[in-house]
Structure formats: C-alpha cells, structure tokens
C-alpha cells in the first residue's frame, strides 16, 4: 500500500483548514488522503479471527494523530476541531472495518473494545458498530454537539475531563449530556433491534 497523496502536506493542510472552518464536506477527501495508512494499521490490528484481535485504539489513534500533528500549519488554537476531526476519523475507520467484516458475517456483530471507561457503549446487547453508527447519525441530526461528545469519548477515548476541556465546558455538563446521549442511543438501538434496511 503506497500513500502517494499523503506526502502532500499542502493538500491535507488545506482540507484541514476548510474542515476547521466548518466545511464538513472536506472530511471525505481528507479521509481519503490519510486513510490508506490508517487502514493498513487497522487491518493489522483486526487481523485474525481470535478474540485477541480486538482493536487497540491506541495504535490507530497514534497513527492518526501523528498524521495530523505533522501538518505543520496545524493550528493548536483549534483544539476542538483537531480532536473532533480525529474522533470522526476514528469512527469512520471502525465503521469501515465493521462494514467490511459484516459483508462476511452479518450476525454476532463486531465486538470492539475501546478503553474501560467507554465500555458502556459495547455492553449494548445486540448492538454492533454499524447500528451504533446509524443511531449516531440520527443523533447528529438532532444534536450535533452531543454526537461530537460521543465521538470524542467513545471513539477517540478522551476522558470526561478532556472532553470537557476540548469542548470548553465543564465535566459535569459532559457527564450530564453524555448520560442523556447514552440513554437515547441505547433506547434507539433497542427500538431498532431488527435490521432496518431503509435507513442510510
């Protein structure tokens, strides 16, 4: 797997800037640029069928951050953007992987363990990653901020304190909003436990 494009910092930087200015359509090309390398890592992590091939989020996060951080013009004043972008990318990697897995086996779901703190997400009875992703998309439409919070805590693995710091709010607020989001997602997943082909 070569990565000819990711050697063009200018393009990544430009996309990052556009993304940080609120143009979310830049996420796709950005993802395509940094993704090949990340997928390599992800594949190595997911390799094999045994339960040990549980994803080590640290490794993917590492790669992701190193990629992003190396962009010299990255503005750290935009920490929120930076972390949110990383979280979005993480989510996409996981979902992407789950999707390719699901082509092979649909039932049983993809068990993915993030950090212990985040275990709640994966304790959902019949929830697999694709269901969670779908429910999150719904949440995103109603309340983008909560969805972002979930992404940060859930997919990137930031702590409550860090999430609060990144979103410039208090830990109490993060905890409260996440509790609501959790309940909402859980309820959503239960309600949609049966396959729903109609949704995107």
């Amino acid at each position: 797997m070569t990565e000819p494009k990711s050697n063009q910092p200018g393009e990544v930087t430009l996309l990052l800037r556009r993304w940080s200015e609120g143009q979310t359509d830049s996420l796709d090309p950005l993802f395509n640029l940094v993704y090949p390398r990340l997928r390599q890592i992800a594949n190595a992590l997911f390799r094999g069928e045994s339960p040990e091939s549980v994803l080590q989020p640290t490794s993917v996060v590492n790669e992701l951050f190193i990629k992003l951080v190396r962009q010299h013009s990255l503005q750290f004043e935009n920490r929120e953007h930076f972390f949110s972008l990383a979280a979005s990318l993480m989510r996409r990697i996981l979902v992407d992987h789950a999707r390719s897995e699901n082509r092979i086996k649909r039932n049983g779901g993809q068990r993915v363990a993030l950090t212990d703190d985040l275990a709640w997400g994966w304790a959902m009875p019949s929830a697999d990653l694709l269901d969670i992703d779908r429910a999150l998309k719904e949440l995103q439409k109603i309340d983008p901020r909560k969805s972002r919070m979930v992404e940060l805590r859930f997919f990137l693995g930031t702590t409550s304190e860090e999430t609060a710091d990144i979103l410039e709010t208090s830990k109490a607020t993060v905890d409260r909003e996440l509790k609501f989001a959790r309940g909402w997602l859980y309820e959503r997943l239960q309600a949609n436990a049966s396959p729903r082909d109609g949704l995107p």
Binding site: I41, N62, K179
Partner: protein, 817 residues
Amino acid sequence: MTEVVQGSNPISDSDHWEDLQTLFDRFEATPADRREAALEAACGDPQLRRRVLDLLKAADLMEAAPSGEAAPAMGAASAGKATPSTFMGPYRLVREIGRGGIGAVYLAERFVDGVTLRSAVKILAPHVVDPSFVDRFYREQQNLAALDHPNITRLLDAGWTESGQPYLVMEYVEGTHLDAYCDSRNLAIEERLRLFLQICDAVSDAHRNLIVHLDLKPSNVLVSTAGSVKLLDFGTSKLIRLDDSPTSTIMATPAYASPEQLLNEPVSTASDVYGLGAILFELLTGRAPFGKASAASRIEAAAREVEPEALPRAVIPDAAPRRGQSEAKLRQALRGDLAAIVAACLRSRPKDRYSSVEALGEEVRRYLDCKPVLARRQTLLYTAGKFFRRHRLPVAAGCAVALTVAVSVAYAWSGQRQALREAERAVRMQTFLFSLFKMANPDHTGKPIATVPEFLRVGMSKLPEYIHEPADLRAAQLGLAESMIESGDLADARTALASIIANASQAHDLADKAEAEAFAGSVDFQQGNIAAGRALEADALRLSRTPSIPPRVRVLSEIYFAFNEDDNGFVSDENLRLLRSAVQESRQRGLPARENSLALFYLASDLYMRGRGLDAKPIFEQLLRLYEGDPLALCDRSEIYGWLAWISNTNGDTPASLPLFRKAYDGYVECSGADSRGALDQLPYWSDALVRAGRAKEAVGMLEEALPAWRRVLGDTSEQSEMLYFLARAYLATDRFADAERAATELLGRIAGKLAPDDRTIGTAHLVLGQALAAQHRYSEARPHAEIAVDLLVKSAVSVYGNQLGAQAQALAAELK
C-alpha cells in the same frame, strides 16, 4: 428530520429535544419508582412523559451494564481466568497473572522429566508480531543470554501455537507490583528511592548489553517479599513490531510512554530514562505524570511538547499517609532536588534528559547522600532555552521580550550572587517564569494577556509570591524592569525601579542600587526629567567606583551616565573616555553580548552626536555583525540600519541611505509592527533622505500617512517634534508653505516650556517656521525666528547635520536682513 421518529416513539424527539433533556436532567436522580409521579406533576404531555421515562430507563440500564464485559477476553475463556486445560505449546496455563497492551501473562507449568517447572507465558496479540518473530528470538538469544542480572527476569522461549497464537516464555517470579508493594508498606520517600535505584541498576546493565526495555512501568516491576526488585519484559521490545511499521508505540503503555514513542519517532536508551522518570514520578506522588490522560490527549500533548506538572503539585490526596508524612511535608520534600531530577527525566526531547540511566542513578544517589544534584543547575539554562521554543504560539508577540526577561533575569541572578545558593534560586526563578508563562497563556487564564507590557506588569506583581529572599527579589525585579524599558513601558519601569532603589538602599546593596539608579536615571532623561536623571546617573557612577561592584554594573553605570550627559548637552571629553572604557571593560571581562553591544551602541551614538558620524560608522557596522544570525536581534539590527542610513544621508551619500532606511523600516515592521515606535521613528529621517533625493512628494505622502499613528502612539507629548519638524521640511520642499507653517507652529507649541531654553530642538523649530514664513514673503514675521535659530543652532552644533542646520539658519538670517 422527522425520519428519526420510528414506530415506537409516539412523538418526534427533534421537536421536543430541549424539553426531553430538561426533564431528563431534572428527574435523572429521582428513584425509578417515583419518577412517573414526579413527571406527571411537572409535565402535562403524556407522550413526552412516556418518552422521558423510556430514556431514563435506558440510561439506567446503561449504567448498570457491567463494564468488564467489554474488556478484551483472552483465549477461549472469559476475561481473568484461563481454563486449566488450555495449553500453549508445551506449556499448560494455570491462571492469568497480568495483562498489558500487547497481551496477557499466565502462570504456566511444564513437565520435564517428571518435574513441574513453573514459568510465565505471555500470549501476544497476533498483530504485535510478524511471522519472523520466533527467528528473531533465536537471533537475539545471545544478547538476551548476556542479560544475566539478578534484577531482570529472563526470557526463555518463544513460539507459535498450532492455532497461530504467538507467545513468549519468561522466568516466573513471585512478587508484588512495585506500586502495590510500596503503598502496602507505607514506604517513605527514601526507601522508595532505594528500590528505584535497584531498577536503575538493572536497566543500566541491560543498556550496556544493548537492550532497551521501552515499556517501563510500575506493573513491569515486581518486588519480592525480601525487597529485591525484578524487572519483567526485558528484551520483548526487540521481538515485537508491527510488520508494516517500524513502530515502538504499539507496545508502550501510553501513561508511561515517552513522547518519541507516542509520536513514533526513533527510540533509544533515553526512552527508558523517560520511563524510569515516569515510574519515579508515580512512586513519589502517587500518580503517573499525566494522570489518567487518554492516549489521544497524551499524543497531542507530546506533539505540543507539554511536560508534566511539577512533582509537589501532582501529589494525590492519598499519597502522604502512604509515605508516612503529612501532605505539607511531602510536598516540601518533593520540591527542589527531587522535582528537578524527575523533570530532567521527563523532558520532551530525548537529548534534554539525563544522558544515561547510569547518570540518573548517580543523581539519585547524590540526593540520598545529601550532595548537590546536577539537575538543579541545568534547569535554569534549560528553561531559558525552552521558552522561545515552547511558547512561540501563545505569546508570539511577547517572545522576544520574554527571552530577554529570561536571559536578563537569569544573568542578574547568576552574575553577582554566591554560587552556593544559586541552584535553589534558579529553581524558584524557573518556577516563577514558568508560572508567568502559564498566566500569559489563554489556555490557563481564559483571558489572554494581550500585550508585552501587560505581561511584564503581571510578572512584576506576582514576583514576590515566588521569590522571598530580598536580594533575589531585587535582582529579579531589575530584570523585569529592564524588560519594561525595552518594551517602552517607561512609567511602570520607573515605579518599579524606585522601589528597587529604596530596598537596595536599605539593605546596603550597592550593586543593585547602582544598577537600578542607572536605569531609573535613563528613564528620567527619556521622560524629560533632566535634573533628576543627572542626579541618579551621577550617583550610580559614584557607587560603581566601589571596588566590590561587579564589572557588569560598572559598565552599565558608565554607559548611562556618559551617554545621557552628552545626549542632553552636557558634553565632555571625560564622557567619551568613559564610554570607551566601558566598551573595553565589557570586552576584557567577557561580559554577555547584551552589555557588550550596549556599550558599543552608545559609544557609536555618542560619536555621532559629536559630529563624528564617520567614526561611528565602523562601530555600527561591527554591531551589525554581532547581531548577524541572531533571530532575536531583528529590532536591534533594524535600529543599526537606521543609524547607518542617517549617517550616509547626512554625509553626502543620500542614494546609499535609501535602501538602508528601507531595511531599517521593514525590519522594525517585522519585529515589532508598523505602529511600533521603532518603525515610526525611521520615517521622519527617511523622509529627509527622500527630500534630498528630490522625492519630496513621496516624503510628504509617507509622513502624512504615518501622522495618525504617531499621534496615537505618542499621544500629546513633545516627542512628536521630530515628525512635525520633518513634515514641515517636506512641505517646504514641495512648496506647501502654509502647511509647513502650520506644522512648524504646532511643533513650537508642543515643545514650548518642555525643553531647556537652549535646547537645539527649539532652534530647529524656529528655523523651519522662519523658513516657512519667509517663503510666504512674511519677512518681518520670519526674522525673529531666524535670529533664535542662529542663536541656538550655530554655536552649539556638533554633528554634521547640526552644522548643516546652523548653516541654514545663518543663510535664512542673511536673506532676511
């Protein structure tokens, strides 16, 4: 949007989102069985109530979900236990004894010739090794065999099971994890340090055998009941790698990993120094250097070169009793040496850490033997070097000045005090400077410190909280006051200097007094308080004659006395001699570049004032070379370009002066902004060159454009005189005589009563007004101005330009007669 409403929801969430959350938050803590009733009282919409109840119930279920469920399970068994029948190759797994980022460790048994041998088997996650890992193990055997150290567990075997599980077999050791061992015995700091030394010795030995660990952490250190240490997992790092990336990150535990590991940069023994520092940090404070930070934020912090907070502040509430001390005592103990040692391990850049684990061990021994610790001495240097790098973004504008602060304070610090207590002071100063930057950083205060003067004022006011010893405080205050002068905040600098003079006087500290007086006098001159300035400079010079005064202070006193005297019309040959001697002494004594260049600069300026611009020129050029290549000296270089330009301009080489003015102006704009005093100061002189080059219209345009900025920056002071004078001259050259008259009149009004009656500036103002009036054929009005100009300008002229003005005055007077 309504798409999100599915069959089971009677209402649309998005339509009631706010209400849902409000009610959810309000009744979230209410016991489940009372919620329905409570909700009924609060909300009249039964469907909304139903939805809130559903969400609350879902949230409760989430809370109740066992979190262990999601932990990665090992083998076929559930997390925590291996079924006795599980075999890894010839090894039967008995039970799980540990778990890390790359796999889980089991106590295992093997039967050889009827004997049961115990060992530890580490089952690796398949992704951490490539197919050649067993080969590599055998290649590494020689190195690993050399690693025969009583404190290191041996790596015995490696293999793949039939089902494709890679595993490592290690010597099995009974023991307790380091942190648990220390805490369960309430070990005191000193005992913890002695255990730590055992670890250092073991790691150091491994390094001599060219083996790095790369995953040092408390749980990789076992302590036997007898109190001897065993390190686990040595040698593992060489066997583990992702097949497609030369990475070391994957195996390190983020909480203890070095920045280079987190950032996938090359690792070395310095990475183990970092790991050891992280272990020591936790042994002393009770928590890892970055606490419970997530992997993501650790990586981001590493990229930003954020270093952990100082030891005393990291102490967790539980730590003190576990170390047999009160919290205050513990914090006290962790201040100073130990904080410096740990900090020197945990530097962002590998080369800034201890050069070896051996050096770290020696340092800890020095501490235990109550000998001075090296890290303390290095800290200040490191800090001064670090600021510029680190704080580039948050206080970009303050950077140059910040460095000046750090350097001048550091110098004031080390230059004149006894060496004995220097280290202690250095650390306090470091703490202060560090805190100052924290205060300046919007991340910390939420309200950024916007300007350099503000930054310095905060520093000045906070200083006493950090530095208590009066002499140290004065030295530090002097450094800040001098930076205030450099940043143009004369009023605050003067207030601070007055208090330093008073304190130094009371404490009979002649050196501090002389230095503060020299600077205060200089401020007085700049503010037009000539008599007060002269008195202060004279006293500073007198004090500087005392033998005990350090050369640096003597040089400063001489410079400021001589230059200010000459600059304000009290010219004497003695002053020039003083300046020359200052240059000589600073060179001979090897004083820092700052004093050296200061002496040269004032000598050159003085020579210029004496009409010896061509003698000054080579000195300015020498200064330019001194500043060459120093990225912080852009303002200084620009200043010199301005002088060289003016010397060329007034010595008949206007064409050569124009590009120099351009350099001076552009440089100042770059280093301190278009509205800065330095940049604005160039314009009037530049305009004179343009007038002489026959480009008077450009000169007028340039000055008129800059006038609002001048008025804004300088306010209602006499300092606008230069601008107004040159503007009037430019108007004259473009035949705009009425405008010239207006500017000259304003000029006279501004300086009236503010200067000595024989000040040459008054002469120049009268000259240009006289010229403007004469040009409008109002000869009788012009005549008295011409006479005053002749009076003031002809006799006292020293510089070339002064003589030119004198000549102009005489010509005007002659014309009017």
